[in-house]
């Protein structure tokens, strides 16, 4: 008689909460799909407000990701590689939006970039540019909320890439910029992809800071979440139809990136 190689039964104390957790995530998603007004879906989504909001959401979230790539990657490098007093404080500050209630973020943005804000007022006087209630304002709000997700992810990836590679690259004659481009960026690519997805998802769902700072004007600042919020107050079925669209977009992007995410070396080297 050979005894089966078993570590024992999975404990109930762990199984029950695990099932509960799964249900908590899965049930609302299923409910949304099940209760959506499938028969009238076409006409509900045909309105120009939906097309505008969807285009605005996709556009602003993509611009947000680009802004994170261009601004967040250098910041992540500085946090991962430069040793200077105050950088620990800077890292802490950069992560604040992660935990900040979005409405508070909106108020903070208004204080800085509002018409009478710290930066907003001189900016308006000098250039005539105002951010609140503009599409640019939406992007600023989204970058504010998304950047910490991106920076933390990329900083971790750069740290994992190891300072030994920096040392070896330097002995081979590489400047720090050359080593960054040719060694660090490719090695940190999985972290950059992951950070971009997180930032993009945060941007797509951003509601509180956007509506507080940029308002809810169809065509310029009304993103999908804002439109869903408005629709919910008038017609719950409209809201469900819109929510379903957002769910579909999110799942599609996640599925599209999945294989790259799980195969970190692809897209690196050559």
């Amino acid at each position: 008689m050979t005894a089966p190689v078993r570590l024992g039964r999975p404990p109930v104390v762990l199984l029950v909460p695990a099932v509960l957790a799964s249900a908590l995530v899965v049930v609302p998603l299923v409910a949304l799909v099940a209760s959506a007004p499938w028969s009238t879906m076409g006409e509900r989504l045909a309105s120009s407000a939906v097309a505008q909001a969807l285009a605005l959401s996709i556009g602003t979230s993509l611009v947000t990701v680009v802004a994170c790539l261009l601004l967040g990657t250098p910041l992540a490098w500085v946090l991962a590689r430069v040793q200077a007093p105050g950088l620990a404080v800077l890292r802490a500050l950069v992560t604040v939006p992660l935990v900040l209630p979005p409405v508070v973020a909106g108020v903070a943005l208004a204080s800085a970039f509002g018409r009478t804000g710290l930066v907003g007022e001189p900016l308006r006087e000098l250039t005539g540019i105002t951010l609140p209630y503009t599409t640019a304002g939406v992007v600023v709000a989204h970058v504010f909320c998304s950047l910490p997700f991106y920076v933390l992810s990329v900083e971790a990836a750069l740290r994992a890439a190891g300072e030994q590679h920096d040392a070896v690259a330097a002995t081979l004659g590489a400047s720090r910029w050359y080593a960054f481009r040719r060694v660090l960026l490719p090695l940190a690519l999985p972290g950059i992809v992951a950070g971009s997805v997180l930032a993009w998802a945060r941007s797509l769902g951003e509601f509180g800071a956007t509506i507080t700072f940029a308002g809810n004007f169809p065509g310029t600042t009304q993103t999908m979440p804002s439109l869903i919020y408005v629709a919910l107050q008038a017609d719950a079925d409209d809201a469900k139809a819109l929510a379903l669209v957002l769910l579909a977009v999110s799942v599609a992007v996640l599925a599209g990136l999945r294989h790259r995410w799980l195969d970190p070396l692809r897209g690196g080297g050559r």
Binding site: Q164, A167, A169, T171, L172, G173, A174, P186
Partner: protein, 357 residues
């Protein structure tokens, strides 16, 4: 050919031992605060083995030479003062312990990285890289990623990557660590000729950190023994192996090393005594023989290999000594771990050397 300078602990004052060697070879007087202080002065083309126990400061010394670890002092290589230069300006080749290849680049691209970084056109950089891969016997692996290379192959690629940049100083950190014994032996054999060639062509000084006395004996013409952040011995490999002054090297070459202060109070110039384990006599009681060198101690380990029983004894003054006895006398003496025992050794079996405190 070499003129290694014994470290005396002091870091100030650059003693220009011989203008000849410091002009072409390596002249270093470096301190990594809290880690290591070392003065090295070797001729162009030398191969230096740095040995010592873990935590002796070997890696810190390597980093200080490469410029990746902040250090005080001065460093001249091949007639250039590197002290204030950045790492890319130093022309130092580094082969890290695990080869440190860039995981996203093929073997060829890894080797071509240095020339590319220094502005060599892509086509020529690749040709040079292919040439160096072939020289190290891994030309057929040019398209492989590091993850697809064995440990020995990765080391060869890493050596090629360092040598293609024609460094004035080549640093090898434990080049054979973790390799299969036969692989290590083959690589060691090849390195001898590659290092000799680099030395002949460019006067490249090689410094390798190692645990293995075989590395030091087969590759190096100078051995530097580090202990607790200080150079405790330098010399030619055979001289160091024959008369080690540190317990670490003594153990490596299978000799007992004992320090004996000359003055009764333990100050002044002392002596380093070395003797083989076979010269040690074990007794259950204090020996009545004429032997002046005797210790009391506790047996810490007994291993039997072939016809010899090797006994490790920790003496009452804290040293650990090896004794080789026959199985019969081991039985007669009832040697086992924990038993108290006396050791003695005849002066005639001992090599004594004076050492600076």
């Amino acid at each position: 050919m070499t003129a290694p300078t014994d470290d005396t602990g002091g870091t100030g004052g650059s003693t220009s031992t011989s203008a000849d060697t410091s002009a072409a070879g390596l002249a270093a007087d470096l301190t990594v605060p809290g880690r290591v202080t070392a003065r090295l002065d070797v001729a162009a083309g030398s191969v230096v083995a740095v040995v010592g126990p873990n935590g002796a400061g070997k890696s810190s010394l390597l980093g200080a030479l490469a410029g990746t670890v902040p250090a005080d002092g001065t460093l001249r290589v091949a007639g250039r003062d590197l002290t204030r230069l950045t790492v890319p300006e130093r022309r130092v080749g580094l082969v890290p312990q695990d080869a440190g290849l860039f995981g996203h680049l093929s073997a060829l691209e890894n080797v071509a990285f240095g020339p590319r970084a220094r502005g060599v056109p892509r086509r020529r950089a690749r040709a040079e890289a292919a040439d160096w891969l072939a020289r190290l016997g891994v030309g057929h692996l040019a398209d492989r990623r590091p993850a697809q290379l064995s440990g020995g192959q990765a080391r060869r690629v890493a050596v090629a990557r360092a040598l293609v940049t024609a460094p004035d100083l080549l640093l090898l950190d434990e080049p054979f660590a973790g390799l299969d014994v036969t692989v290590a032996a083959a690589l060691r054999g090849e390195l001898v000729s590659h290092l000799a060639r680099a030395a002949a062509e460019r006067g490249t000084v090689t410094l390798l950190v190692t645990h293995d006395p075989v590395d030091a004996l087969t590759l190096a013409d100078t051995v530097v023994v580090l202990e607790a952040g200080r150079v405790v011995q330098t010399g030619e490999p055979h001289a160091v192996a024959a008369a080690p002054t540190s317990e670490h090297v003594g153990r490596l070459v299978g000799l007992n090393v004992v320090h004996r202060p000359s003055a009764a109070d333990g100050t002044g110039e002392g002596e380093v005594l070395t003797f083989p384990p076979s010269a040690v006599v074990l007794d259950p009681e204090e020996p009545r023989s004429s032997a002046r060198l005797r210790w009391r101690g506790t047996v810490r380990g007994v291993t039997r290999t072939g016809g010899v029983v090797r006994v490790l004894v920790e003496t009452t003054d804290g040293a650990s000594l090896l004794a080789d006895v026959t199985p019969t006398s081991a039985e007669r003496l009832l040697v086992s771990a924990g038993s108290e025992i006396w050791l003695s050794v005849k002066e005639t079996a001992v090599t004594a050397a004076t050492m600076r405190p």
